[in-house]
């Protein structure tokens, strides 16, 4: 087929095409995915006493941290779903959130005697924290990758990593409804590790799954 013929053929297929919105679907994926994760969490591990959590600064510290990462992941994913879009300043939100928590962790460590240092960052649950976050991020992860496949990402590994960042942020936020670790040092290491694992997994999967 000649290229001219192809163009003629394509021109016959020009029903009005409304530009496809992506952010609303992405938001829907987050809400539905988070609900599913929360239900899984309740059935699997249960919730921490939520009344006390509401008055606990560490609970809010964790929630703000993971929610900020989820928001940044959302913004980056929404941009990378379309060809030619720039990343914008959303990656700076991630950097700022990590920097903020790392600073809190350093302040904490200064106040802590040497004997308490290892407990500060290992807590009670360091061995399982990242894996649980990875598991709880699955519903959002699957939904976002499926939505991305219907768009046209052109930087596949990066788009997959952004999807992982988003899903990891949501999964970690949900996990905070159970986890009673209180140290910033713990969160900045193990929560971040769980979310980073999601992003790395997303990069690997995205490179293959998002081809079009």
């Amino acid at each position: 087929m000649k290229t001219d013929e192809l163009i003629g053929l394509l021109a016959k297929d020009t029903a009005p095409a409304t530009p496809k919105p992506f952010a609303p679907g992405l938001l829907g994926a987050a809400v539905v995915g988070a609900l599913i994760s929360a239900l899984v969490l309740i059935a699997w591990l249960g919730l921490r006493p939520m009344g006390a959590a509401m008055h606990s600064p560490p609970f809010w510290m964790k929630t703000v941290y993971t929610a900020l990462i989820a928001v940044a992941g959302f913004m980056i994913t929404a941009r990378l779903a379309r060809p030619g879009a720039r990343l914008g300043w959303a990656p700076w939100i991630v950097a700022a959130a990590v920097a903020w928590l790392a600073m809190l962790a350093m302040m904490e460590m200064r106040r802590t005697p040497a004997s308490g240092m290892s407990h500060l960052w290992l807590g009670w649950t360091w061995k399982i924290c990242a894996l649980r976050i990875l598991a709880l991020s699955t519903p959002v992860f699957v939904a976002v990758l499926w939505l991305l496949r219907r768009m046209a990402p052109t930087r596949l590994a990066l788009a997959g990593a952004a999807a992982g960042l988003f899903a990891g942020g949501v999964g970690a936020t949900v996990y905070g409804l159970y986890c009673e670790e209180t140290a910033a040092a713990f969160v900045v290491v193990w929560y971040s590790l769980g979310i980073a694992a999601c992003a790395a997994l997303g990069a690997v999967i995205g490179k293959r799954l998002l081809r079009w």
Binding site: M1, T3, I7, G8, L10, P16, T18, P83
Partner: protein, 179 residues
């Protein structure tokens, strides 16, 4: 030169918007204008032998994914990103390790080569792998220049069903282009 790129962007974006609104002539003009630019770009970036195939693959992709274009943004970066992606994907499938620099989108408009080259992979042959009625419909529309309504009647489709069948047929064709 700077002014030229800006003007071209304005023209192409205008054509894209009219095409999205359903203006077939504007859409054809856009694809025609892009074809020459894409041909020059792929040739310059080291895919001389497959340039025409890449042009066709990219035009199909631009057509089928046009609803992912955010009309609030400039058009050239969108089209350039699709072209660069198709080139990278082409090299990957060929097992060629070759860097494709991430340039300013303006490079897509820098040169134009209207001279159609030879294809290696004939879309007509790929068309042959579609279900018979769908294939007949697409060939009818392509070859004879029939309107969709006429072609639909000849192949026993309602016009609405023919439109859907043509769109799905093009999607399948795009799937066959890159296995």
């Amino acid at each position: 030169m700077e002014g030229g790129v800006t003007d071209t962007e304005t023209v192409l974006k205008g054509l894209m918007l009219r095409g999205l609104a359903g203006d077939a002539a504007a859409h054809a003009e856009l694809l025609g204008a892009l074809a020459g630019r894409l041909r020059a770009y792929f040739t310059r970036r080291g895919a001389e032998a497959d340039a025409e195939d890449l042009v066709q693959e990219t035009l199909l992709a631009i057509h089928l994914k046009r609803d992912t274009y955010d009309t609030g943004q400039p058009f050239t970066p969108w089209a350039y990103a699709v072209a660069r992606y198709k080139l990278l994907d082409h090299f990957r499938r060929q097992g060629v390790r070759r860097a494709v620099p991430l340039e300013d989108a303006g490079v897509l408009l820098a040169t134009d080569n209207p001279e159609e080259g030879a294809v290696r992979r004939d879309l007509d042959r790929l068309l042959g792998a579609l279900p018979p009625r769908q294939r007949a419909l697409l060939e009818d529309v392509k070859l004879t220049g029939h309107s969709i309504e006429e072609a639909a009647q000849r192949q026993g489709f309602t016009p609405g069903a023919a439109k859907v069948a043509i769109h799905r047929g093009l999607q399948k064709l795009a799937g066959k282009v890159r296995p």
